[in-house]
Symmetry: C2
Subunit: 161 residues, 2 copies
DNA sequence: ATAACTAAGTCAATATGGCTGACCTAAATA
DNA sequence: TATTTAGGTCAGCCATATTGACTTAGTTAT
């Protein structure tokens, strides 16, 4: 049976090949986030601050509820990080049309930090994309997308409508 | 100049496209690890335990030093997690040829947990690979590999020699 | 108009997974 | 013999997350 599997399983479905992908995800994600992490440390922020700044930059006037739904953390967890960002004037809160809600917006200072952080990752990706053909790039994006849970694919799509 | 950029920059080098990749990495990695995370919680373990079990399973008789070099955490951080795994008999330590070193090996119990955890991720990947053509798969692996820092590419290569 | 629901905020306690620094033992090596 | 290396440990600290209980104010449905 083991031999039969060897004959019938396509090369890319071998467990060894799949384990390679598990490791690639681990190494790639860690190194992809290490650049921003180092910069954040200097200003006593962490990855959590980056995420908030990133998504507030992505969607101007995002509400707390939307942010929580993207980040999938608790209100209490977000609160600590967000309060720091507001106190240090990276983000401003304003009351929304529905007066129960609040709209988050990056300040100039916030945009500058967002830009510094994103630039690190953007440049890294640019370097890779420049040396890759379009088929590889499209495969990369497609398979990453497929790794997202269905319920979260919708959230990703909404961010990129 | 902005117009000139629009004309000269290939579509896949647009900032918008690159930001999509940043988000794909965030969503994909989180959802990729959520399966094992849920299982680990039931037995009061965390992601750190998973990593240790994974790499001990990957490389029988791995030493503490090698493990630290892969995980890139401190000895003290590893210690807490590893001691639990040894105490609960998922891993056994034995003295290496160089008597200063120790070889880590999964017990039967350890293999079973490793298998349960990995199966979740392997099945997820299998499903994706079955619906993808080989070019896409190869692009996915190539670009993930390129996201790894050069010094860590060597470590990845050694794991998969 | 009132009841129910929703968005946001807060207090407190807890867990996990990292970190630094200091210090130790035993074995290998120069 | 002196130094380096592999591993271990104690103590304290920090960041990021959790759960649960509770409040306020605004919106919506009956």
């Amino acid at each position: 049976m083991a031999d039969l599997n060897k004959l019938l399983t396509p090369l890319f479905l071998n467990e060894k090949e799949i384990r390679k992908i598990i490791e690639l995800m681990f190494f790639a994600y860690r190194d992809f986030t290490s650049g921003p992490d180092a910069l954040l440390e200097k200003i006593d922020f962490g990855r959590a601050h980056h995420r908030v700044i990133y998504f507030v930059g992505k969607k101007e006037k995002i509400t707390i509820k939307e942010l929580l739904s993207i980040l999938q953390i608790t209100k209490q967890s977000l609160s600590r990080v967000l309060n720091q960002l507001v106190k240090e004037k990276y983000i401003i809160l304003s009351i929304g049309e529905d007066k129960r809600t609040k709209n988050l917006t990056l300040t100039k200072k916030g945009h500058e930090l967002e830009n510094e952080l994103s630039t690190i990752q953007i440049e890294k990706i640019k370097k890779i994309l420049k040396d890759s053909d379009e088929d590889n790039i499209s495969g990369f994006k497609t398979l990453l997308y497929e790794m997202i849970d269905d319920k979260n694919k919708i959230k990703f799509d909404k961010l990129n409508y």
